[in-house]
């Protein structure tokens, strides 16, 4: 690959020098009929390159895309995404075709006069009204999904978890038996109490601090995000979930996991993706990779922003409860 790069660079520099040298004898400055012809044909070829690149990218890079959504809300997201993408591709294909085709078809010929065509109310009305209608549909549909995703007020018995961000690490706190998080503020940070939990608040005592996120399948999880220093963003791409963590403020996002880690590992798209990754890793002599859900930081936060992650494990409710019961509560940890 690198060799190819150097060859490409060398070609460009050679062409550049050759062309720069020729500037002294070639004084061509205004397009002639011959130029119009060549450049028009080049636009047609560029159109082919353009569609080729689009098709190539879709074929070659589709395996890179995220696998099926691992949350119920994410499934709605995926449908909306698919419809929007189809619409985009149709409009893209048509408009770009017209653009390159016209550039080719109407390339200048000496003596031909262009059509004097300055206005058409009919046409303009069409391409104002049609996009308006399509967009109205898209907005309505989008907002339905948005409200579904963002409104978790009607959730029955949701699990409440605090996700806590700091340079360059994630922590989490489960609300415990009372399912209510104790108060917290950075001013309470001391020793092992790294999240600044207020131990005088009785709700805080049964809270469970962890360094790994375990989630039960099929139960709505409401995340409360806090940050201790700068902005971070809790990004959980497999669940189609993201929310910024803002110092001085608690933000919120909720979703219902719909596939356990094991199920996702057995998902066809995941298998293809993991195979692709492991082929690359094998070439580099690295250990094979096993799929895991991740929480990544997605807001620039400092030098190690690129390595701020936490593993997420989705399991059946029983397994999850067993895991949670095995964790120490805040009261036990701090004492």
């Amino acid at each position: 690959m690198t060799a190819l790069l150097y060859v490409l660079l060398a070609v460009v520099i050679a062409v550049a020098i050759w062309q720069i040298a020729s500037i002294f004898n070639l004084k061509g400055v205004i397009a002639t009929e011959k130029d119009n012809n060549t450049q028009g044909i080049l636009f047609a070829l560029f159109g082919i390159f353009f569609y080729g690149l689009m098709i190539f990218s879709f074929v070659k890079y589709s395996s890179l895309l995220l696998p099926d959504s691992a949350s119920l809300e994410g499934e709605k997201y995926d449908t909306l995404y698919l419809i929007t993408m189809l619409l985009i591709l149709v409009v893209q294909a048509i408009t770009q075709f017209l653009l390159f085709y016209f550039a080719f078809k109407y390339r200048g010929i000496k003596g031909r006069k262009a059509l004097f065509y300055a206005d058409s109310h009919k046409l303009e009305t069409i391409w104002t009204v049609v996009p308006a209608i399509v967009l109205a549909g898209l907005v309505l549909y989008g907002l339905t999904v948005w409200n579904d995703v963002m409104d978790s007020s009607d959730a029955e018995n949701p699990l409440i978890i605090e996700v806590y961000a700091k340079q360059f690490q994630w922590e989490a706190r489960y609300a415990g038996n009372d399912n209510e998080l104790g108060l917290a503020n950075v001013r309470n940070i001391q020793g092992i109490n790294t999240m600044g939990v207020d131990m005088t608040d009785k709700n805080a005592l049964d809270d469970i601090p962890t360094r790994e996120l375990h989630l039960p399948k099929g139960r709505k999880v409401i995340f409360k995000f806090r940050s201790q220093d700068v902005l971070h963003s809790a990004y959980m791409p497999h669940f189609r979930a993201q929310m910024n963590c803002v110092p001085g403020m608690v933000t919120e996002f909720a979703f219902t996991p719909s596939m356990t880690t094991e199920e996702m590992r057995a998902n066809e798209k995941t298998i293809t993706k993991v195979e692709g990754i492991n082929k690359i890793r094998a070439e580099k002599g690295e250990d094979p990779y096993e799929f895991d859900y991740l929480l990544l930081c997605n807001k620039i936060c400092g030098a190690s922003h690129y390595n701020m992650q936490m593993k997420i494990i989705v399991e059946e409710e029983a397994q999850f409860n067993a895991w949670l019961a095995s964790q120490k509560t805040m009261a036990q940890v701090v004492q």
Partner: protein, 583 residues
Amino acid sequence: MSDHHHKETFITKYVFSTDHKMISKQYLVTGIFMGIIGVFMSMLFRLQIAWPEQSFSIIEAFLGRHQDGGVMSPDIYLAIVTIHGTIMVFFVLTAGLSGTFSNLLIPLQIGARDMASGFLNMVSYWLFFLSSVIMVCSLFVEAGPASAGWTIYPPLSALPQAIPGSGLGMTLWLISMAIFIASSLLGSLNYIVTVLNLRTVGMKMTRLPLTIWAFFITAIIGVVSFPVLLSAALLLIFDRSFGTSFYLSDIFIQGEVLHYQGGSPVLFEHLFWFLGHPEVYIVLLPALGITSEIISTNSRKPIFGYRAMIGSIIAIAFLSTIVWGHHMFVSGMNPFLGSVFTFTTLLIAIPSAVKAFNYITTLWKGNLQMNPAMLFSIGLVSTFISGGLTGLVLGDSALDINVHDTYFVVAHFHLVMGVSAIYGMFAGVYHWFPKMFGRMMNKTLGYWHFWITAVAAYGVFFPMHFIGLAGLPRRYYSNTAFPLFDDVADVNVVITMFALLGGAAQIIFLANFFISIYKGKKAEQNPWKSNTLEWTTPVEHIHGNWPGELPTVHRWAYDYSKPGHDDDFVTQITPLKEGEEES
């Protein structure tokens, strides 16, 4: 003004000039210089992204103590990304583009002797120059330049403890931007006043070329939104230096609690994007104006739907001030606000679609003259559509959740505002070079420049959508910490190669530009057979633009191939024939 014989010294002619044509050239050359820095930086960080562990002697040579054996440090990576964004958005595509062409074309195309205030115009350029110098100086401070991203969100940008670039580097960034904003405001006020007051006889608003409409509306957006960025920056300076808490609250860093209480970074985001989003159109509208003019001239056809084009410029400008929240869907802002911003944002697609369709219709049944400027203009329409369409994903709050801050965003905005605006700038340079320098640029070099750039631009940004959809966050120093992203490494290599190719292609442009200034073929008065007023002035620049009286305008700027005329163009100063109707 009308006295074109008074003596000029080197200083008053080339340095502290009040002549809009000279100021425009100063803007252009400064913009190109900043552009070289900005593009070069992108080459450096693309090397890092494609080959994260490899050593490069070029990195060793340029990054000094910020690299180790030819591998850049994470801090300087973020710094370069930050400064690349700042320079390209503000110094190249705002000052370089708008400053150059608004200055050159407003007086020439409306039939004025100069800007309303030549002195303010000069001050505006020199403030821009000063801010450029400060920004470049900030690259050399010990802890490195500002590194919190070009959006400089606090607390990262406020706390040197959080990232070293937020020390002196950030201070210089803020000072530079404050001066930049002052420069931009002086320029914009001048443009607005000039367009409103100094139009020549017969130059009604409805006869203005679309370039002028674009510059005029752009200046208005600038005046409305830039002061808000200034206030945001001032409050940030207060937080950084005087202990206030506008943006900061409850912070624990490096083992201690800071005193800040009650502020919110979200406030900064609102203030920043109140400029930041209109800024997109401050960058884009002049490019679209230039394209309108060039596509019409080179198609030998009137621009299709002149009034609709003006309407859509105004609509875009108005909407651009009420959509900023779409950058903040996952900021923790109330979800209801998210709904409102989704609605206003997707509305912008309507005037944008009108513009795109009108460009395409202008080409239809034209007689296309494939000058380099025309190629770049057609290229602009293509990237404007490609980049604009993905805005439907990002502007939709629900869909934004999962692509927010990923490479999908990077691909989107580079196509729709980066590449499009830079194409507009190139188109403008090729088209008005004869007006600026009295010589012509070489067309063959122009063709090579365009085609390599066009292939490279799509080669870079098309695959980039996919790595974004794979969930890869932007501003990652390296993706090696995530086996999940091992399979995007190859794509990043391809992207970097196209980026290097595209970067190298700009050498062709630079050579063509600078050699043509001295060696280019002497220009005729109206080389592109254009209708607008600037081509009625003499090739040699004179103070006051027109030797005798100011021209009188009798028609709009787009009478190309009008039936009843022998030539395929009719200049704006040609009186209507008997019985001829104005278009």
